[in-house]
Amino acid sequence: MKYCRIILMFCLITITGTASADNLIAGDVQNYLAYGAIVSMLLLIVIALLVLVRTFNVLTKVVLKSEGYTDAQIQAQLHPPKKAKKPKGEVWNKLLSLRPMAEEKELLIEHDYDGIQELDNPIPGWFMYLFYATIIFAGGYLLNYHVFHTGQLQYEEYKTEMAQADIAKKLYLSKSANQVDENTVKLVTDPEILKAGQVIFTQNCKPCHGEHAEGNVGPNLTDDFWLHGGKINDLFKTIKYGVQSKGMPTWEKQLSPKQIADVANYIKSLHDTHPAGAKEPQGVKDVADDKLASTK
């Protein structure tokens, strides 16, 4: 019992500890600890119950003995003879409300088809209950969605889903530093950011603009010529909204503002790298570069 108490104390400490140490332990780790605590508590309860049962047994024996019962009488009290176990088949029969095989002869319909006979068994009650239950469910379903309008049909469901997502998104963004757009984006040369931008470039831009941005289906991004402006803000805008007439997709839905800024900066960093097989210039010359933001 002493050990039990120690374990219990330990669990309590872990739970309260994790609750107060909000910033020290990551959310999912906290969750795992909590699951562990819950499972061990449940195990503890089971152990406690077993111990209690055992205690009652012992207590009964002691009490009965003190009242003058013999050992045999006590045994009889504690372990009453088990009822004869029904054969397995009969349990099934009862569960499925089937008539015993022995009565089958009475149920045979006298007719046969190519030797196949049929029994006149009633339809099992549980089968009918299942059928009725599904009919009630179906009726309830139609009432719910089309008479009482308590359930949402698909377009209302969609509105709700979008509204909820919007709330969650705003809440998250208000807390994070992810809010950057075409007006606030800054040119940086932080190698971390450029590296992140390169990964995004390889995943998404390479097929059209080439591995080194030399241009393929899309234009060369390393020269002085730009179709839609060469400032970091212009790049951000082009990536974010795309240029439908030229076949540049919108990336707004696929890349986060932070990611767009990263990849735009990466592209800016490729300027004048003169990759092999560079595509001929397209658009107008735009070298009036934006000011470099102070690198942190």
Partner: protein, 708 residues
Amino acid sequence: MQPEKFYYDNKIVRNFGIATVLWGIIGMTVGLIIAIQLYAPGMNMNNQYTTYGRIRPLHTNAVIFAFVGNAIFMGVYYSLQRLLKARMYSDWLSKIHFWGWQLIIVSAVITLPLGFTTSHEYAELEWPIDIAITLIWVVFGINMFGTIFKRRERHLYVAIWFYIATFVTIAVLHIVNSMELPISAWKSYYIYAGVQDALVQWWYGHNAVAFFLTTPYLGMMYYFLPKMANRPIYSYKLSILHFWALIFIYIWAGPHHLLYTTLPGWAQSLGIAFSIMLIAPSWGGMINGLLTLRGAWDKVRDDVVLKFMVVGLTAYGMATFEGPMLSLKQVNGFAHFSDWIIAHVHVGALGWNGFLTFAILYWVIPRIYKTELFSKKLSAFHFWIGTLGILFYAIPMYWAGFTQSLMLKEFTPEGMLKYPNFLETTLQILPMHMMRSAGGAMYLLGVIVMAYNLARTMMQGSLVANEAAQAMPLAPANTVVKEKSWHRTLERKPIQMMIAALLVILVGTFIELMPTLTVKSNIPTIASVKPYRPLELQGRDIYIREGCVNCHSQTVRPFRSETERYGEYSKAGEFVYDHPFLWGSKRTGPDLAREGEKYGNAWHYNHLMDPRLMSPGSIMPNYDWLISQTLDTTTTRSKINAMRTLGVPYALGYENIANQDLDKQANEISDNLAKDHIKVKSNKEIIAIIAYLQRLGVDIKANKTGNK
């Protein structure tokens, strides 16, 4: 009265049996090939005729109509004669039926790889074959009812009720879903468009499962299982209830294939409600079957035929419980378009149809050859490898379905899709697809072993082509005393029974189809949606020919995860000129409903030539033949005319100038491609399909771009 002597026709049973095995092996081999193509696109042998989009319909048609179809006829021809104590009505009709059906299958094997397809799932065959199917089905009907009329058994046994319901319902389904306007020998347009076409197709598609894969097999189960186990049918009353309930309710459930589409909400809900009510009537068959085995379970231990039956019935019970669960819209929104559905149908097809067929073959062939099965060991091997095959097939597919759907629906806290690139989710499930093909290969191996075993059985015995039997002739109908119940009376009257079954299935058909087909307000039109330009129409027909619809859907459901990924959800009015609809039922690749103007023409050109250029790792096959093949513009006139007949508002006389417009648009695209240094003549097929892809879903955007 003297008993009459007559002979059962076993030869026709044998022929259908052999056809079952041969087509089964072919259909499953094609299935294995396309399963491998889903992770090794090169398995199409760089050949358009063996590419996924064209031979996936060949796989489904071969296993449904060739393997299962021939098995049905084998089972029906064997059991019908014996249940009615009569030889088939006409040996000639039997022969016409057999060879006609094989010819239809051969024509499918030829036309589907050639790209002649209507694009309606499980009804891909073009109009001339549709007519042939109708004729052969009528031959089957005459032969069956002819036999019923000359029967020596007053009452029709439950198996025959199911055969009658099958015959009459398949006839109705096939005719309504084959309403096509032919424009040439191998091309036609469905008379329905968009939502209406979708509703008709899935009313058909769902009930092809019900009345081709289910009711005839229940009928066969009712004959063969009691014969195999030598036990009486558990409950005659349950037979009556579940037969009528099943055929009445099944016909309503089609719309559950179209949940969250633009199908009117009431129709979707009816489909869901009736699917749930279908659980008990479906299970009625399984329960009656399993309880028939009461007292014979010891035989199951060493009789492989009964083992096949038990696993088959269990698979049936699992699939018919899973089906209603999948039709609940909350589950469906997650499972639809994913591999979960592939797992679901294969539990039914491999377990229920496959295993019942094998059991019947193992039981019938030795009997009509008056011999024992060649090898019990081999049949036991077949049972175990088949069962394992099903597990190895289904479990990875469930896993793949869950994984991909979860990935597609996952958002980051910033409110962005976690996996915005569809391809990422595809690559994630490739290992499961590899495992699936291993499962399929195991199952196929079992069938090949069975074929060998049955061939050796046939060689060691000799066919009793005409099996002698005798029975008392029927007393004239009017001399029989009054029956105990109304149903017993109905069992004496085959025509009335057929009419009753017909009426029962027509109730749901009318209530569900009629309002959508006739009431205009069910499909709100959109002013900015215009008919396709001629080049786009030709491109659309190439899209149909290549079977793109087998992997790409064209309907965006109203879910955040879909509108963020693809754009605005689809509206009914967008599809009013779509003969046929191309919503699809599976997303192996991304949805294309809003594909238009998403990428440039050059992107599409490169992507069609070799998808891996633009999407590294893609499993889409190369469509390089579209670059070399020249577009056939001689059909433009008849296509425009046909579309106008179907109600698409092309101006009168437009067919005369349609090709001028086609050339104009084609030149614009090839000029645009030239800017990206892609030199391609404007008369190539790839130009037409790019035109079509760039048109997809843009009409509805027209309203908004005006404001920009």
